[in-house]
Amino acid sequence: MNELERHVEKLFRHQPDTPETQELREEILSNLQAKREDLLAQGMDERAATEAAKRDIPSVDGLIDDQQTTNVERYRMACAQTVWLHCILFWIGTLPLLFTGYGWLGTVGLGLSVLSGVGYLLFWLLHPVMQGTRSLAGARRRKSMAWRIWGVFYAVAALSVAAMTFGSNLWYGTPVTIEGPYQWAVMASRFYVPLLTVLIPLTVSRFAALLPQYRVEG
């Protein structure tokens, strides 16, 4: 794979693999290769010609119609199933916390798993047959936004926990003393609890990944 092919591959990294995008991918690659040949013919060296050709098409977002006709009914069911699965994963994540002061999160995990399971079952029983359009770019934006918000949240949460746990040691210059495995576990659990919220951006990411799978052709 040459450099221009790698560039085109990168441009289409987040696009669904459909006949239309395949055709567009080939067309763009051939245009870039033609551009590069022109520049080489004008006397430009190979590297500069490749870079100039790459600069010609830096993104394909404007070239692809991101509105996808979607089987909304099945897409929503898949999303509901994802929520159910992720609630169970959250619940599993809370099991080690039963031995710490955060044991109540196990009950929260149980409640969320049962509620999301019942919600999914209702979807399964009552789902209306419907189609509609969904924006792929919108789904990608939501995914990107979810990760950014979560990143900021976890950074703030982890720093706050670190400040509360080690603040006085830092201020007075005293050594941090953690005696025994239980105290280690208690300290680690303070950082681990906010980490469990990573399932939120993972869920939003999964929604974005599911969307192309429920595309309706024609």
């Binding site: 159910w84 169970i88 399971g117």
Partner: protein, 193 residues
């Protein structure tokens, strides 16, 4: 999708079984043991002297250390406040309740006195203030009961148990240190205020 549903349901079922076993089996058992242990710490008979070892100190002046020491000794379930007189190295423990002069409370007071004097090297006198009177015990009174320095009792758990068994639980010091009547004044030779 149906197959995936079945797999997710099985995962939920297994998680529920593990959760049930951990929460209502392992954790409940640990909590019960912890609760029994904590209850045992309110009695001199069952108190684990290792609990106070982190609070050993040569000086009485560290109020936080002294408070922590008493919060890890029997009678810690009663609200109490502390006062320290640095000139006389006297510690006053004020209980906001009337003295229950039962044998069990008096034994706990005797045990606490021995533990505090063994843990804090320059503690010369302890006063236990109740709403209806005060007990006052001096280091001299305690030391004359033992052949070894009081702090040495904490170095060896067996020695500690022997000392408390002989001197406190067999009742030989109770009548002298903590008599039933507590309304007489305290002096260096007497036990009461």
């Amino acid at each position: 999708m149906k197959q995936k549903n079945v797999r997710i349901f099985l995962l939920m079922l297994v998680t529920f079984l593990v959760y049930w076993f951990l929460n209502y089996g392992v954790v409940a058992e640990l909590q019960l043991r912890r609760s029994i242990y904590e209850h045992a710490q309110t009695s001199a008979y069952f108190h684990n002297i290792q609990e106070i070892l982190p609070y050993r100190s040569p000086y009485l002046g560290d109020a936080s250390n002294t408070g922590n020491l008493f919060y890890h000794l029997p009678l810690h379930q009663y609200p109490m406040t502390f006062a320290i007189e640095p000139e006389t190295c006297t510690l006053t423990v004020h209980y906001d309740t009337a003295a229950e002069t039962t044998e069990q409370v008096r034994e706990n007071l005797a045990y606490n006195t021995l533990a505090a004097m063994a843990a804090i090297d320059n503690l010369q006198c302890i006063q236990y203030e109740f709403q209806d009177g005060t007990y006052c015990i001096t280091r001299q009174q305690v030391e004359k009961r033992f052949d070894v320095p009081l702090s040495a009792l904490l170095d060896d758990t067996e020695q500690w148990e022997k000392a408390t068994q002989h001197e406190i639980f067999l009742g030989t010091v109770l009548a002298e240190w903590f008599p039933m009547e507590i309304d007489t004044p305290c002096s260096s030779d007497s036990q009461q205020v």
